[in-house]
Symmetry: C4
Subunit: 232 residues, 4 copies
């Protein structure tokens, strides 16, 4: 049964490459099986072209390796902190995709400037503050995860499935590894378009609440009418 989890996590990692969200060995995707209390994650620094499903690493929720020949991703503790802090999520993705990372490096939240954004993210995408020197030196990757959780005080992670970590890049999540990757792709598309918009006009504000509600809620929640899901 863990084989199925490895396959899905492997495929989600490869989807990062196919969607042009990572280069080299950058990026990583994981998934959690909450019943078994098992997390599956990409190994650290392995060439995507040579990676196989059986290279995926299995860990418990404290980070102890349960199965796998290779070392897990160096960002593993960030993933674990997210699984702990966001109890409803099943997958996490981290990329260095160009435009999302550009916003993160500029330490700017990504404003909600249009309906493509509103279709997928319920409001502006938050950007963390900087980690203190002490926290960087203490347990960097775990503290990064905790910083994200702190940033989400007052924000519902079930309707805002992405964060920009300042001076670093985006993390995204979802019900499983595939959704986490999908959100990464949507984030990059929105980050690119809105990059161009703010160059065309400074000081753009978030769209009206009514328009945000309309677009987000026609795709998500009880009253959704986009797509074929609610039919038949």
């Amino acid at each position: 049964m863990n084989q199925a989890l490895k396959e899905k996590v492997f495929e989600a990692n490869m989807a990062l490459v196919e969607r042009g969200l990572v280069m080299h060995t950058f990026g990583n995707v994981s998934a959690v099986d909450r019943d078994k209390k098992v997390v599956c994650i990409k190994p650290s620094g392995v060439d995507y072209a040579k990676m196989k499903p059986q290279d995926m690493v299995l860990l418990d929720l404290e980070g102890q390796v349960l199965e796998g020949e290779l070392k897990p991703s160096s960002d593993t503790k960030t993933h674990l902190a997210l699984y702990k802090g966001f109890p409803d999520i099943g997958g996490v993705a981290h990329t260095h995709s160009g435009y999302a990372t550009a916003w993160a490096q500029a330490k700017r939240p990504l404003p909600c400037l249009g309906t493509t954004h509103a279709d997928h993210f319920y409001g502006p995408i938050p950007c963390t503050g900087a980690l203190s020197e002490h926290r960087i030196q203490k347990d960097y990757e775990k503290e990064t995860g905790k910083l994200i959780i702190e940033t989400f005080k007052g924000i519902d992670y079930r309707h805002m499935k992405a964060v920009l970590v300042a001076c670093h890049g985006p993390f995204t999540w979802g019900k499983d590894a595939a959704e986490a990757v999908f959100v990464s792709a949507m984030l990059e598309a929105v980050a690119r378009t809105s990059f161009c918009s703010v160059l065309l006009k400074k000081d753009l504000k978030n769209i009206q609440q009514a328009l945000l509600d309309k677009h987000y809620l026609r795709k998500h929640g009880a009253g959704a009418y986009y797509g074929q899901k609610s039919k038949g």
Copy 2:
């Protein structure tokens, strides 16, 4: 005979993908058969890779489904409003293409800065104002179509086949579905080039009326001499 309409609308929707104007399930193209009073449109939220001609949905001009297993595009009412307001058009396309959407999100009309623009659009491309909260909540997609019609007071939609909907993206039209897609592609090309131009020099004005006339009219109208159409 409706089969031919479905094939054309299907092909026009797939052309959005081939031309790089949409990702995921975004975007939609429709066509109208004015004699039969039948509109054909892409289904809502269906994966382009799996979409087939028989998935296209047939409706009457009031939006009643005549034929089709799937729900029509969530933007259907906007298309219908355009067919009503612009009696000479036969096809409508809607994309989230990056540069056109960037201008729409910046709420800036696309100025006519050069001859590539003038070859295809007779003047600057209008950008709508914002919909009121009331209109968003009332019948959003229909009101979007009506907003476009209102924006075209004093503009001839037969020579300006595109609009930017503020905080949303472009709609384009033409004599049929294929032309609507073609106009979307030209719009994106012009939106990209003129994005770069306004970064190179602020406060660029529209080109001279004489140059606009020369280029637009050498391709369109009675005196056109571009291409092979008027020959032989």
Copy 3:
């Protein structure tokens, strides 16, 4: 023998597509056989995917069609004016490539900011002024050619093989059609890089004359030592 000319002009036009310098039916390349006083040019508005060598049109230097079923490019008179004004050139290319056109629309000459530019163009690339309304209405395409010649007063067209026509786009030339296309490709590359440079720092000046001389002259002229040509 004209067949060979048609093949070369056909191939040069197709190279515009392969190099990503044109879309749709935009752009055109011609060549002249000065001994025979014959110009060969792309037909007007023909789809690149369907174009064949025998579609190329042969004209005399006054623009009279000598051979060919199709109408010549609508920009033919501009090409003819360049062949008249620049007696040493054998080929001309015109594109709407994105970055070069962006500079042309901004009505800014392309400054010489680096050695890639200096390797191919001996100084900043001139941008024409605007054509008067009278000249646009009189004989637009011919006047465009004459405007380019006027812009080159004091500039040696043999060492500056490109111009930006304001609010329009680039024309380039060379010893034959293939070189004209090559120069278009170099122009677009330089236009893109220098676009980014001027966004990174305003008011950049042209590079030192000594550096321009060094790079241009190590590739061109009697003392050239780049490449394999002067060897053996």
Copy 4:
């Protein structure tokens, strides 16, 4: 044995093309065999599509050709100066990649704005000053190499494997030709992302020293824990 060196240098040069870092005949990669005192470099101005391993040129460290039918790269003396000044390096690459060159043309060092940068470069990437007219005219390519060495006073070239040569473009290096190319690719990626960041917010500062240390040192040096190298 030199055959193996030629193969590696050939492959590294071709990797420049595959990674989209060069166009036309631009760019060049070399490697040195310190024991044999032999440098192997790409020939000058040869089309990548026709280049073969046996076209690589072998020289001694003073630039005398030892083996090869073709003239070595016109930038050879810059490579030789780097091998002399940086005794631990085994390969050098030079590209005209768009974003790195844009920074070089803007004469701006590339600030360290994020962790992708910090993963590969220990601090901001230096940009040289301008060469004097005298040095340009004297022995241009050798002086370019010496200028780079001068720029690195106080900077450890083993942890900063790239430089921007003002008004020219990047040079990178590493333990062999392949690493030099890899560093060129990372440089271009970082140059692109940080280009976008500085457009989003002016006057961005380098990241905290603690974050730079954390990322650089988790990949490099004795305490590295990224990847699979230190395992098993």
